[in-house]
């Protein structure tokens, strides 16, 4: 997601940030460490939305995953290859911080984490604006920083010499290229395409990526409408009317959270989604929440092989079960992405330690993380882009199906990372405009 510096966050940042940091640091300490501070610990700053509209669908599921993994890793309960206690035998101490408040505040929070709280590493950031602001500061402060969710293509284009910054989540351009591939396979006759996006960087970038990919992969299609309502608008009556009058076959939307749920509810109630198929690039987070209000056949994405798209493997089975048991709900894609970042860091630390005990040097961790291949609930992750700092994975799409009170995904198709990810050093839009040369699709 991109910058969420909306009015409320700016206005509330003093109060919310202070309260959030204090209260949730406490929560983190309770979860991560209740033992004496004399013990050597590996301190990790976890930064995600704990207040505001992004907290429910993204921030809290990610924070839940962090709490779960810190406790389970400290207890040595995680299956192989992560069955050693904590990070290389050193117990983890988590410091949870609210991401609300915008990039300037997050830079302050980051400096506070590194310089006052003395964390060894930071994992976080849903907002792309926050990622872009934090990356140069992380390099200045020489602190291992793992971006777990933000999708901006500019992260490593603007920071090409990164040493300490890594991203285990995927570049958002891949979501939209995969979306067009899926459309071509499942809706080859679609001709009239419309879009509705939130009016900020995430929405406009998603639409630009999608339309550029559409031009290359399905040039026979026509864009009949593009709506850009205000972020958190909630009611989309007029936009739905416009979409009705344009009679699209497919409606692409990068809406997320409450906005996505409200749009689907209102569009379906007015019959729009009986005549057009919605393609929701972040729709997986609504899989268990639509309660049948999305018509069967609605296309959902999960921004990678995460959440309900995660494959069957021992690590994912354990993670899903442990998450369900503790929080009485299924993990969604932000949960899996947070788990992926923590496992990536653990892999790098233990590889850097190379059998020695204790905390390895941060430069050794950075060297070990660069270009690493590690296991995650989403499968094998290769840090093979941006000079070994950016993960590359497949992106899957599927269709929503609701029956007898149960929601599931049908017709899931996964697109390899090599098919949908631009090569190193190439901007996604340029690569798409050039016809996606060297894309390795099945």
């Amino acid at each position: 997601m991109t910058a969420l510096t909306h009015t409320s966050q700016r206005l509330r940042r003093g109060l919310v940030s202070a309260a959030g940091a204090i209260a949730l640091t406490g929560a983190g300490l309770m979860g991560g460490l209740s033992t004496a501070t004399a013990e050597e610990t590996y301190r990790i700053g976890i930064v995600t939305f704990l207040s505001g509209p992004a907290s429910g669908p993204f921030g809290v599921p990610a924070a839940n995953a962090a709490r779960l993994l810190v406790d389970e890793l400290n207890a040595g309960n995680v299956p192989a290859p992560y069955d050693t206690v904590g990070m290389n035998g050193v117990r983890i101490q988590a410091v949870l911080i609210d991401e609300a408040g915008g990039p300037s505040q997050q830079v302050e929070e980051y400096r506070n984490l590194v310089q006052r709280q003395n964390v060894d590493a930071v994992i976080g950031y849903i907002s792309s604006g926050d990622c872009l602001a934090i990356a140069p500061v992380a390099e200045d402060l020489e602190t291992i920083t793992v971006m777990f969710d933000c999708g901006t293509s500019r992260l490593f284009l603007e920071n090409p010499d990164s040493r300490y910054v890594f991203r285990t989540g995927l570049d958002a351009a891949a979501d939209n290229i995969a979306a067009v591939h899926y459309m071509k396979e499942r809706h080859p006759d679609a001709r009239r395409i419309a879009g509705i996006q939130q009016n900020y960087a995430w929405g406009t970038d998603s639409w630009n990526d999608f339309t550029a990919a559409l031009e290359q992969i399905m040039p026979e299609t026509e864009i009949v409408e593009s709506q850009m309502p205000r972020l958190f608008q909630g009611s989309y009556g007029t936009e739905i009317s416009v979409l009705q009058t344009r009679r699209p076959d497919i409606i692409h939307s990068s809406f997320w959270g409450g906005d996505m749920e409200a749009f689907v509810l209102q569009a379906n109630a007015r019959g729009l989604l009986q005549n057009a198929t919605a393609l929701l690039t972040t729709g997986e987070s609504g899989l268990d929440r639509f309660n049948g209000q999305a018509p069967n056949g609605t296309i959902l994405g999960g921004r990678g092989p995460f959440g309900a798209f995660a494959p069957e493997n021992e690590l994912n089975n354990w993670f899903t079960e442990a998450y369900r048991e503790r929080f009485e709900m299924n993990p969604t894609y932000p949960s899996t992405k947070m788990a992926q970042a923590i496992f990536g860091l653990k892999h790098a630390i233990e590889k850097a330690a190379n059998g020695a005990s204790g905390k390895p040097d941060k430069d050794a961790v950075a060297d070990a993380f660069r270009g690493a291949t590690f296991e995650s609930p989403s499968g094998t992750v290769e840090m093979s882009r941006a000079g070994g700092h950016q993960a590359m994975q497949s992106v899957a799409y599927g269709e929503y199906h609701y029956e007898n009170g149960e929601a599931r995904l049908e017709n899931v198709i996964s697109y390899r990372g090599e098919c949908i990810t631009p090569p190193d050093g190439v901007a996604a839009l340029d690569w798409i405009a050039d016809g996606m040369p060297d894309a390795e699709c099945d």
């Binding site: 009015t7 409320s8 206005l11 509330r12 109060l15 919310v16 309260a19 704990l50 207040s51 505001g52 509209p53 907290s55 429910g56 669908p57 921030g59 809290v60 009016n199 593009s226 709506q227 850009m228 309502p229 205000r230 958190f232 608008q233 909630g234 009611s235 009556g237 007029t238 936009e239 009317s241 416009v242 009705q244 009058t245 959270g257 409450g258 906005d259 749920e261 409200a262 509810l265 209102q266 109630a269 007015r270 019959g271 729009l272 929440r289 309660n291 209000q293």
Partner: protein, 300 residues
């Protein structure tokens, strides 16, 4: 070629919602001269209470009556207005009466922030999805559009609220007393009017109207943290265009914003964000106190 029927229908529906949101805000300002930022919290409290109650109500089975659900929504609004309105007016605002309007603005803004976090403590941060009444009424064809009957019902509700407020202020004894307070608070008090009681009643009515807007919006949206803050900005734009404190001004302001926004979304959607505030700026350039606002001499 823009479709004028569609613009009119969409504009009316949106204007109705705007009027519902702004009515309580303008009633409180008109009588009490308080720019009540906490109005957004009443909206949010109404929405969250309604979403919770609907969740409870529909958990009982699929044969639940939609009429009872609507009564439940009204009940939620009255409950929120009574409890939150009374607590805030008696517990906080009455100590501030007679102070500068800017101070009241800051106090109610602080209240908004506190209530935002109270809402988070009570309801958490996960969205609430209480769609059943919205879906239950179905949809109908209206010209080129297919509209949700629930949205059309909101037009009726807004008309009812507008008519009710007019009747209350113009045809009842309480309304006459309130108008005397609006005209001159001190003389009214000298003539034996219990101004404090009238303030309490007005604040509860205003809070209930805010909660009513939230309660009836809840089934059409996903109720998320921060909706109160989002709504207060647009509500202010409406009452400022119409003139602070004027019910008819709020109605005209809502219609202007609703229709202008609908026209923008249908014709130049990328200007939608800008157009509402452009209209507000244009109105204030010509009439600095809004369309129905009266200039007030400032005491120095």
């Amino acid at each position: 070629m823009p479709n004028f029927d569609a613009i009119l229908i969409d504009g009316l529906i949106y204007a109705s919602w705007l009027f519902l949101v702004a009515a309580g805000l303008t009633v409180i300002y008109g009588v009490m001269r308080i720019l009540n930022m906490a109005h957004g919290s009443f909206y949010a409290l109404g929405a969250y209470t309604a979403a919770s109650m609907l969740g409870w109500y529909y958990a009982g089975g699929s044969d639940s009556s939609v009429l009872l659900a609507f009564l439940l929504l009204i009940g939620c609004a009255v409950l929120v207005g009574l409890v939150a309105g009374l607590l805030i007016e008696r517990g906080l605002l009455r100590f501030m009466y007679g102070r500068d309007e800017i101070l009241m603005l800051i106090v109610t803004y602080a209240t908004l922030l506190i209530l935002e976090d109270v809402i988070k403590l009570v309801w958490g941060v996960n969205p609430y999805f209480a769609f059943q009444p919205y879906v239950a009424l179905g949809r109908m064809d209206l010209g080129v559009l297919t509209v949700a009957r629930y949205d059309l019902m909101l037009v009726g509700l807004a008309a009812l609220v507008g008519g009710g407020l007019w009747y209350w202020l113009e045809r009842t004894k309480t309304g006459k007393i309130l108008r005397s307070i609006i005209h001159d608070r001190e003389v009214s008090a000298a003539m034996g009017v219990n101004v404090k009681l009238m303030f309490t009643i007005t604040f509860i009515v205003g809070a209930s109207l805010g909660a009513l807007a939230g309660a009836f919006t809840a089934p059409a949206i996903s109720v998320v943290p921060g909706i109160g803050i989002e709504v207060i900005i647009i509500a202010f734009a409406v009452v400022v265009i119409g003139g602070l404190g004027s019910i008819s001004g709020a109605l005209v302001g809502a219609l202007i914003v609703g229709l202008t926004r609908a026209a923008a979304v249908h014709t130049v959607p990328h200007l939608e964000l800008f157009i509402i505030y452009a209209v507000m700026a244009a109105v204030l350039l010509v009439r600095p106190h809004g369309l129905f606002g009266q200039p007030v001499a400032r005491k120095i």
